[in-house]
């Protein structure tokens, strides 16, 4: 005796009456067509997976609420839901175009923003003006050497020639200038960091 294959309508009504296994049957029956349909539109397996899942969540909710009208068109109905969700997906991705990082390429490996943001620029400016004020407090001979070395980027040989002292003296003044700066900074708990 030939057994007739139960229709979708049969499983739908069984599911609406509480038979959970009927849903499994419906998904197994149609998963390939629905998933392929979604994939043919989005061409991304993960997105297709998400839309497939959302489609069936809608199906499950509608059936459980008893809001589905059985007209023998279960598959076209599910396909319509999937189609609408695909459209939603493209609308969303048009609104917010995004660059997808692939496994072998990450956009941030070639793109970086090294410029300081406005806050850091302000802090840097403050630190620099604080240092300038501290330098002004140094004894004249130390200040001259430090200004020539750091701001004018002169060598110690040039400094010694310009100031008429030996290189060793210039080196010593530079050393004391730095020691004195550190002392003042420590003494007044000045924080000079960016």
């Amino acid at each position: 005796m030939k057994r007739s294959i139960p229709t979708d309508a049969h499983y739908v009504s069984a599911y609406m009456n509480g038979d959970e296994s009927a849903l499994c049957e419906l998904i197994t029956r149609h998963k390939q067509r629905i998933y392929s349909f979604i994939y043919s539109k989005v061409f991304d397996k993960d997105i297709a997976e998400d839309i497939f899942q959302d489609t069936f969540i809608k199906v499950i909710k509608t059936l459980k609420r008893g809001a589905y009208n059985e007209e023998g068109k279960f598959l076209p109905w599910v396909m319509r839901i999937a189609h609408n969700l695909v459209i939603d997906h493209f609308r969303k991705s048009n609104r917010m175009p995004k660059f997808e990082n692939k496994d072998d390429f990450n956009i941030f490996s070639v793109l970086s923003d090294n410029s300081l943001n406005i806050e850091k620029r302000m802090i840097k400016g403050q630190v620099e003006s604080d240092v300038r004020r501290l330098i002004e407090e140094l004894p004249e001979d130390q200040k001259t050497v430090l200004m020539m070395r750091i701001y004018k980027e002169m060598s110690f040989k040039e400094i010694s020639e310009r100031t008429g002292v030996s290189i060793n003296t210039a080196l010593g003044r530079m050393r004391y200038a730095l020691i004195n700066l550190r002392k003042v900074i420590d003494k007044h708990n000045i924080i000079l960091t960016n």
């Binding site: 849903l23 998904i27 390939q32 392929s36 043919s40 497939f52 499950i60 459980k64 609420r65």
Partner: protein, 50 residues
Amino acid sequence: MAKLYSEKPRSERVEKQLVPKEETIKFLLDYSKALSVIDYNKLKFEALLN
């Protein structure tokens, strides 16, 4: 022999045996089991019971 330079249409490029992952289906079946709709004075409430 002449080469064919034309591309296959998009629909043909889609593999025929594309199916969702098992875990997606399992999720849906579990979701279905957990979801219950409660009727109350013509209102319908959804409840997810894990």
